[in-house]
């Protein structure tokens, strides 16, 4: 087929609003919070201007936003919402209800640090805290990926083998408020790609009445339902790959669980997600042009976590540095990405050495100099065979 994209200059939030307009969800219930506000603002304007048929519910909080989203999705609607930081935290109990009821709600979350102290800038503490809520989590490197991931998320979440809610993650301000080149698909192409949503059940279907949100606290099958959720996550690996491939066919931009740079001959590598990937890639490519055998893995899918595939790619390496834009406060255990990667490597007969760099908390910049510093230490680890400091804070004043 002929791929047709319209190139525009857009800030990340506008790219996401455009994706939402093209998906044309039945219901959007959302509450504004910095730095996600521009999504709600732009999208509600689109609704007011008649550019999209969505029923927009202006709720009074994020707790209400997710509650309304759950109600609408239970009624068989295709539903979206979006949030950031404290808003995501305020949705907490509902996040588990959305996944437990197997409602394929799609939610862009513009990553912002959690208070205190109050900080509006980017880190991944908000969505990393939600990593065990049973939501699919797709990270974006730039506005383009935020747009592309939003469209794919609808397909992934609604797949009959999955039926789980999905978060599309994009770094606050760095992506959300930076103007970037974004290739936009035609409305009909997106509309055809996401297709018509056929809900598994609907509270409004009077011919086939259902009870949802049932009590399961006595003899109980709670355990069985949780196992099913885990199975849906296992199924998600294949669906995310398939959808990413199919998306490539309509857009020229295929997607996988993660992307690699120079891994074919790399001796050591950096694993990173989000907007920092651009800076890291730039530096990795520059170093490779000077003959340094470094590679990079850009993690796109954090939930489900592609442990097996990552272990395969990392198996031949001497050393790996994992970059984390949040911490687990577990006593120098490392950031969440580090924990998952480290665990993924455990069963390898010969494990690479591994080191963690926590960076960018509260929006602190990850400069090229900081990447150079980390790579210098990584090279030292690879040659000496020793990790002096397991968890390091990159860019911390010390």
């Amino acid at each position: 087929m002929v791929i047709s994209n319209k190139t525009i200059a857009a800030i990340g939030t506008d790219a996401v609003s455009e994706a939402m307009r093209q998906i044309n969800p039945d219901v959007v219930a959302a509450y504004p919070i910095t730095p996600q506000t521009a999504i709600v603002e732009t999208f509600s304007q689109m609704v007011a201007d008649g550019l999209v048929k969505t029923h927009f519910v202006a709720v009074e909080s994020e707790h209400s936003a997710m509650s309304a989203a759950i109600g609408a999705a239970s009624s068989g609607a295709r539903v979206m919402t979006c949030t950031s930081s404290q808003g995501l935290a305020y949705m907490w109990e509902l996040l588990y209800i959305a996944s437990g009821l197997r409602l394929p709600i799609v939610m862009p979350n513009v990553n912002r640090s959690l208070s205190a102290p109050i900080n509006i800038h980017c880190d991944h503490g908000d969505s990393m805290g939600a990593r065990d809520t049973g939501w699919i989590q797709l990270f974006s490197e730039n506005g383009q990926e935020a747009y592309d991931n939003t469209i794919q998320a609808a397909r992934i979440a609604e797949h009959p083998d999955i039926l789980l809610p999905a978060m599309v993650l994009m770094d606050g301000f760095i992506i959300s408020h930076s103007i970037d080149r974004v290739d936009i698909l035609e409305d009909e192409v997106v509309s055809k790609f996401v297709g018509e949503y056929k809900p598994a059940f609907s509270l409004l279907d009077a011919e086939n009445p259902v009870s949802i949100g049932t009590f399961d606290g006595l003899y109980g099958y709670f355990f069985e339902f949780k196992r099913q959720q885990e199975e849906a996550m296992v199924n998600a690996f294949k669906v995310i790959k398939d959808v990413g491939k199919e998306f490539g066919e309509i857009s020229g931009r295929p997607y996988d669980l993660f992307e690699t740079v120079g891994m074919e001959d790399a001796e050591y590598a950096i694993i990173v997600l989000g907007s920092a990937c651009g800076t890291v890639r730039h530096q990795v490519e520059e170093m490779r042009s000077r003959g340094i055998k470094i590679g990079m893995i850009k993690l796109r899918v954090f939930r489900p976590f592609p442990a097996k595939e990552l272990a395969e790619v990392l198996s031949g390496l001497k050393a790996v540095a994992v970059f984390d834009r949040s911490d687990t406060f577990a006593g120098h255990l490392g950031g969440p990405v580090f924990l998952e990667v480290r665990s993924s490597l455990y069963d390898l007969p010969k494990r690479p050495l591994i080191v963690n760099y926590v960076y960018g908390l509260g929006g602190r910049d990850l400069s090229i100099e900081l990447i150079d510093k980390a790579v210098g230490e990584l090279a030292e680890i690879a040659s000496s065979g020793q990790v002096k400091q397991l968890v390091n804070y990159l860019g911390l004043r010390e």
Binding site: P209, V210, I212
Partner: protein, 107 residues
């Protein structure tokens, strides 16, 4: 559609409908809850004046009525709340310790 759940306690985790959605409304009558009871209402037919107040007040519809007369209590669903005994204007219902009532039943 009738959802056959007789052997639900033996079901494999895969068999349950995703999201715990029940596609057979009203099937709670198959789920017997009388085991929650610690006190059992025993009705004395000789004292009962058939006013049906217990039937009106029972929150679990566990008072069995036939031909406009109370004939007994459905112990599969009665949870022993004692509302029937409290509301009975002629004190025809006595709340008896469930374990003693059970013992007596066996004897």
């Amino acid at each position: 559609m009738t959802w056959e759940i007789k052997d639900i306690q033996k079901w494999d985790w895969k068999k349950h409908p995703a999201g715990a959605v029940i596609k057979d409304p009203g099937n709670s009558c198959q789920f017997k809850t009388g085991g929650w009871r610690t006190f059992r209402p025993i009705r004395d037919d000789k004292i009962c004046n058939q006013c049906l107040i217990c039937y009106v007040f029972c929150p679990d519809s566990a008072i069995i009525v036939k031909d406009e007369k109370v004939v007994g209590v459905d112990y599969n669903f009665c949870k022993g709340c004692g509302i029937c005994a409290a509301e009975c204007p002629v004190d025809a219902i006595e709340m008896v310790d469930e374990s003693k009532a059970k013992k007596k039943q066996v004897e």
